[in-house]
């Protein structure tokens, strides 16, 4: 009986690990989506040729390109891959970036992003919310509209999850 248990060890190890990974991943993102503060981010116009690719819409937001003037702290240590925090202010329900820094802000609402590139005047960042998956052929109205907002849940550590898109006032989940 004991030997038989050891025999099934590979199956048990892999199954437990996979359950942990899938449940952990699901729970991690689900936690942010459920408990995070809901904000609206204005989706910036994207070249339509690039915007709709296959079954997802590529999104761009104001905090994706931050002017270096909004940086708090030294610029020298910032390279591609650096984690940065962008503080947000809410105005008429719409979130807009104010400042950015390497250290996690002690208070307020902020997004946690990764630096993608640095040029003379700006820092490009990504927050993992730059894709919105849609059923096939449902991306066209989003592509055409210029009135698009993303409803995003942001948790206490700045991690964000898109909950839905508001396209011309209509919510798409």
């Amino acid at each position: 009986m004991r030997l038989r248990k050891i025999k099934h060890l590979p199956l048990i190890i892999v199954a437990v690990l996979w359950i942990l990974l899938l449940a952990g991943f699901l729970g991690y993102k689900g936690y942010t989506a459920r408990t995070g503060t809901e904000i609206l981010l204005k989706v910036l116009p994207v070249d339509p040729r690039d915007m709709f690719r296959g079954d997802y819409v590529a999104l761009r937001f104001e905090p994706n390109v931050m002017p270096q003037s909004k940086l708090i702290g030294s610029f020298n240590t910032i390279t591609s891959g650096t984690t940065m925090y962008v503080s947000l202010k809410i105005d008429n329900g719409i979130a807009a970036p104010t400042t950015m820094q390497i250290r996690k802000p002690g208070e307020g609402l902020f997004l946690r992003g990764t630096v993608q590139g640095v040029d003379v005047q700006t820092i490009k960042l990504e927050y993992g919310i730059e894709s919105f998956f849609v059923p096939e052929d449902k991306g066209r109205p989003i592509e055409r509209s210029r009135d698009v907002y993303a409803k995003v849940a942001v948790d206490g550590s700045g991690r964000a999850v898109i909950k839905s898109l508001l396209v011309d006032g209509v919510e798409i989940k």
């Binding site: 025999k7 099934h8 060890l9 590979p10 199956l11 190890i13 892999v14 199954a15 690990l17 996979w18 990974l21 899938l22 991943f25 699901l26 993102k29 689900g30 989506a33 690719r53 079954d55 997802y56 590529a58 390279t79 591609s80 891959g81 990764t114 993608q116 590139g117 990504e126 993992g128 919310i129 730059e130 894709s131 919105f132 998956f133 059923p135 096939e136 999850v161 898109i162």
Partner: protein
């Protein structure tokens, strides 16, 4: 070989006949086994594709929970059934192995499905990393070469996506061969260490074979001006500034692993020293290349020379090991190298008509010669 033994009087004609019959029936069984493996693998992949397509085409109708449940049942179901057939019942091991392989693919599909539900950035390298973390334990739980190949392939994909995600497309493209070479040095080195663990020979061979193939492809690309010429450093500069550590770490791990294997196997075969020695030399060359950028096209010539030598080494190692797969690999790269260099050198020099006619003659003549040599070698191998 049996005929030679008969002629030399080592075996009688009856024994020779019996041996030939046994050999034929063994070969027939092996062919039938291969057929089962191919059919069950194709079947497993079709089931996986079907599950993914079913979810994709019913995206609107299915709730998130239903989508996750379908994929979870498919993933754990194929894994459980694969285990049952291979290790518990043991009656259909090939089909079982294919189902276990399928479960790794479905596990990856589950990760990407959850990412879609939460609209996580489409080309996020973290998703591939989670897939890799799930795939690697399969290699060690079941000690299978096929899972090792899949896990290593996922690793290469993660490395590529990680670099693409953190640098620009042009930078990553030019630097991809050097990044993949470092990754191959690591897999080659770590793969060799598996020979020191009992029961992991298949895993070691799988890691080594795949890493040699990828390293050869990387080096082949490095023989072109676009990848290793003086101007390529202009593109590579930003990568070399920020992601250099990863290249060093991977090549460093490979170097240490190769050294460790050589030290642990005292009095090992000369061939092992030769193989690991070649790996060490190549890793050091690549580290020199990224640490000391050339002020000329020097590296371009070095890589061309090294690649030509490496093809010879590959064929030599294949002959010494009597391993046709390694010889085939060497012959494939010989042909690729000759064709590529022919285009490289003569495209501008010769009139088009002569270029194509001479190229055609080289192709036909070369392929007949290489195939004849390959068959001669295969005939000479005992295995």
């Amino acid at each position: 070989m049996i005929e030679q033994w008969q002629k030399q009087g080592i075996i009688s004609s009856e024994q020779a006949q019996k041996m030939s019959e046994d050999l034929r029936s063994t070969e027939k069984a092996a062919r039938s086994n291969n057929f089962i493996v191919i059919i069950s693998t194709i079947g497993a992949i079709l089931i996986g594709l079907g599950a993914i397509l079913f979810i994709a085409s019913n995206w609107d109708e299915l709730s998130d929970l239903t989508k996750i449940l379908i994929l979870a049942i498919a993933t754990f179901g194929s894994h459980g059934l694969g285990y049952y057939l291979t290790y518990y019942k043991k009656n259909l091991p090939q089909v079982g192995a294919a189902l276990l392989l399928l479960s790794i693919l479905l596990f990856g599909a589950s990760i990407f499905l959850i990412a879609q539900i939460y609209h996580i950035k489409a080309n996020s390298d973290n998703l591939i990393l989670i897939w890799l973390i799930g795939a690697v334990p399969m290699v060690y739980a079941y000690r299978s070469g096929a899972y090792a190949v899949l896990a290593a392939t996922i690793f290469y994909a993660w490395v590529a996506f990680h670099f693409f995600a953190s640098t620009g497309l042009d930078v990553s493209f030019v630097s991809l061969p050097i990044i993949f070479f470092s990754a191959s040095a690591m897999i080659f080195g770590l793969g060799g260490l598996h020979y020191l663990m009992s029961g992991y020979d298949l895993v070691a061979r799988a890691y080594r074979t795949l890493s040699v193939k990828v390293a050869m492809l990387s080096l082949f690309l490095l023989t072109f001006e676009a990848f290793s010429g003086f101007e390529s450093h202009d593109y590579g500069d930003s990568l070399f500034g920020t992601q250099l550590y990863a290249i060093y770490v991977m090549a460093g791990i490979g170097l240490l692993a190769m050294l460790l294997q050589l030290m642990r196997k005292k009095g090992g075969k000369a061939l092992e020293w030769f193989e690991n020695g070649s790996g060490l030399f190549l890793s050091l060359l690549v580290l020199t290349y990224i640490s000391l950028p050339g002020a000329s096209d020097l590296y371009l010539y070095v890589f061309n020379l090294v690649f030509a030598i490496l093809v010879i080494i590959l064929i030599y190692v294949g002959i010494q090991r009597e391993d046709m797969a390694i010889v085939n690999n060497g012959i494939f790269w010989t042909a690729a190298f000759i064709i590529a260099k022919y285009f490289d050198f003569f495209w501008d020099m010769l009139p088009r008509s002569i270029f194509f006619m001479a190229g055609g003659l080289i192709l036909v003549g070369g392929s007949v010669f290489l195939e004849r040599k390959r068959r001669e070698l295969k005939k000479g191998f005992v295995k």
